[in-house]
């Protein structure tokens, strides 16, 4: 995997509109397909998995979601597609699948192997637990700022 590809301005889109969680996942999926991270079938797998194991998370200041599917051969390279929404959409909660929450930032994961999955998830969660950082992401003015903030903090070693 090329480290540089994990995050890229090509798979970040800020302040877009989405009608629903499914619509948002499709938009993120489209970016990943266009940039050769995944095959289109992966998007459907993510939508299906979201119905069984939803990925909405309530943080201190906002709701986020990390939609993903079980890694298989429809993932071509590792990437995290990100969107910040103009208006939140409803995602069901990971903790309580019957509870719907408002989500304003979505991180869609396209990761080839399970082990890698875990390392990246751990780092992502360390970002989510950092209230200040989440606010900075929410306030960052453009894709480049957003990308820099994210990549700087995903690369911290030893952080859990």
């Amino acid at each position: 995997m090329e480290r540089d590809d994990l995050l890229s301005v090509n798979i970040i889109c800020l302040d877009i509109e989405a009608e629903s969680s499914e619509d948002a996942i499709k938009k993120l999926g489209q970016m990943l397909v266009e940039n050769s991270y995944i095959k289109p079938s992966y998007v459907n797998n993510v939508i299906l998995r979201e119905k069984i194991f939803p990925t909405g998370l309530i943080l201190d200041t906002m709701g986020i979601a990390i939609p993903h599917a079980t890694p298989s051969d429809d993932v071509l390279k590792d990437g995290i597609a990100v969107t910040r929404l103009k208006k939140p959409v409803g995602f069901y909660c990971m903790e309580d699948p019957e509870k719907k929450i408002d989500v304003s930032m979505i991180f869609m994961l396209s990761l080839c192997g399970n082990n890698k999955h875990l390392g990246i998830l751990k780092k992502l969660f360390s970002i989510f637990r950092n209230r200040e950082l989440v606010e900075l992401l929410q306030d960052s003015k453009d894709k480049n700022d957003f990308l820099q903030l994210l990549s700087k903090n995903l690369n911290i070693k030893g952080e859990i």
Binding site: L57, M94, E95, P97, K122
Partner: protein, 92 residues
């Protein structure tokens, strides 16, 4: 030696985050503990000798072993209270 099961709904992803945090907690507190990851549907068959069950998804426990919701290890919200609760079950 205490035995703790950490389970999540999907695969092993979120439980890994919680399990790591619990291992650290035990190390910090000098508690010898074995932390085992599993899926929620497999909890029932893994309860032998278990002192505590932690999950990253809300469940209604139908077992006699103490149970703690481990979501705070993922989101950071109520983490300290959760740590205290866990310690109250595994500290002698």
């Amino acid at each position: 030696m205490k035995k703790i099961i950490v389970a999540c709904g999907g695969a092993v992803a979120t439980s890994t985050v919680a399990a790591d945090a619990i291992r650290e907690l035990c190390a910090r507190e000098g508690i010898a503990a074995e932390v085992v990851q599993t899926r929620i549907i497999e909890i029932e068959n893994s309860l032998d000798g278990v002192d505590l069950v932690v999950t990253t998804m809300k469940i209604t426990p139908d077992f006699d072993v103490p149970y703690v919701n481990g979501m705070p290890f993922l989101t950071g919200i109520n983490k300290e209270a959760t740590e205290k609760k866990i310690l109250s079950y595994i500290k002698d």
